[in-house]
């Protein structure tokens, strides 16, 4: 059994000896040796998506849209420009569209063909977004998918699925929860989860005050 145990350990941890770790390390070494890549550039890319570009960007966009009707209108008409006004631009956010949930329609975003995702406002996509289960079923059985995220919508609610087949990237603006009238935009942004901006979640409801 101890042998099997070692075998399992090998597969269950991202250690230095996993096949992909070795493969990527070899590739980076070859490219670096050839002078084709700068390992420090890779460090900066990683740091950017670990610390600077993530779903807090999108949450600020949504909070502003909830708080400022003029901004919400702008976001509807020209999401790329409205989002850029907050400083969120660039790779995989070049052509943005914002889609608004309301009492009639719930929006859900998928990329059935690959992993298209609005990096500039949400950061890098989670594993499930890129995996076959979500990509295969979101367009056919969205209610079943939503249930796996713990989201049950009223039966009469229409569901619109946006398959990101070209270079447009979609941001869902979830409905603003009730009981949030007195909150400032920072507090509102705290209610906006990543999943609520993909459509696999809803905005959080603020904790009831005593």
């Amino acid at each position: 059994m101890s042998h099997d145990h070692d075998h399992d350990d090998h597969h269950h941890h991202d250690n230095h000896f996993s096949p992909m770790e070795a493969r990527v390390r070899a590739l980076e070494t070859i490219l670096t040796k050839k002078g084709l890549i700068d390992p420090k550039a890779i460090d900066v890319i990683v740091e950017t998506y670990e610390t600077k570009v993530g779903p807090r960007n999108g949450a600020r966009v949504v909070a502003k849209a909830w708080a400022e009707p003029d901004f919400a209108d702008w976001l509807k008409r020209d999401a790329t420009a409205a989002i850029a006004s907050l400083g969120y631009t660039g790779r995989q956010g070049e052509h943005m569209r914002a889609v608004f949930n309301d009492g009639e329609t719930h929006n859900l975003v998928v990329c059935t063909l690959c992993s298209c995702y609005p990096w500039s406002v949400l950061g890098l996509p989670p594993v499930w977004y890129k995996a076959p289960a979500y990509r295969s079923r979101a367009v056919m059985d969205p209610r079943g998918v939503l249930a796996e995220f713990g989201v049950i919508l009223p039966e009469a609610r229409k569901i619109r699925v946006w398959d990101s087949t070209a270079e447009l990237r979609y941001l869902v603006v979830p409905e603003r929860p009730t009981g949030t009238d007195g909150l400032d935009q920072d507090a509102l942004a705290d209610l906006v989860t990543r999943d609520s901006m993909i459509g696999t979640g809803l905005a959080l409801v603020p904790e009831a005050r005593p």
């Binding site: 390390r25 295969s136 398959d163």
Partner: protein, 219 residues
């Protein structure tokens, strides 16, 4: 191509399994995989459409059992060989054997913030009038090219409505194969769930795709 990537409407992959408090990366190699992929993209030797096609050309059994960063790395190895930057022997042996092709550009650390902030816009100056207006009824073409296309199988030969005329965009199906950008009008086309899935379609479901003009015929 009707590859393993075209997943819409397939069965058998089980429930979605979201991970609580998922980290941005699941290990050091995923960080390097992202960075190496972006750094090599900056060479300017291939475009995003060619790289997507390299990913969808991974054999189905491998594609469907690979994590997405593994898919990226396998495709990147293909692209690096195709464009002469790395040889098969080098990948097999794991070290440099020859100099190889020289790229147009090498991404250095100081360039990264500006390059990421700029991205790679795919819209182009308008050079034609749009054939369709919002509200038009259209039918998607039914074709099965062995080459790259962004018209998913589930949405071929279906009748829908143009919801928005989105702009004039690089045509992925040509750009992936070095046939030029050949930009076309791009439309958001929305379909009733029943048009796509037929009997038993989820009530109240609509699905939209973003479709280039040459995917569409008037109804």
């Amino acid at each position: 191509m009707n590859g393993p990537h075209d997943l819409g409407g397939q069965h058998g992959f089980g429930p979605v399994a979201p991970e609580q408090d998922e980290p941005v990366f699941h290990g050091e190699w995923e960080k390097r995989a992202l960075g190496v992929t972006l750094a090599c993209g900056a060479f300017g030797a291939w475009n995003i459409d060619e790289s997507r096609h390299a990913r969808e050309n991974i054999p189905p059994a491998t594609y469907l059992s690979a994590s997405y960063y593994e898919i990226w790395i396998r495709a990147l190895e293909t692209l690096l060989q195709r464009h002469g930057f790395v040889s098969a022997a080098e990948l097999a042996e794991g070290h440099m054997l020859e100099k190889g092709a020289a790229p147009k550009r090498i991404l250095t650390a100081d360039m990264v913030p500006a390059v990421l902030a700029k991205g790679g816009p795919c819209d182009r100056p308008v050079a034609a009038a749009p054939r369709f207006a919002a509200g038009a009824r259209v039918r998607t073409r039914n074709f099965n090219p062995a080459t790259h296309t962004r018209l998913p199988r589930y949405a071929r030969g279906k009748v829908g409505a143009v919801e928005a005329v989105q702009g004039f965009f690089v045509f992925a199906d040509d750009n992936a194969h070095g046939r030029g950008e050949n930009p076309q009008w791009l439309y958001t086309v929305v379909f009733d769930g029943a048009e796509i899935w037929g009997e038993g379609a989820a009530p109240g479901l609509t699905v939209s795709i973003d479709a280039w003009e040459s995917y569409l015929e008037p109804v």
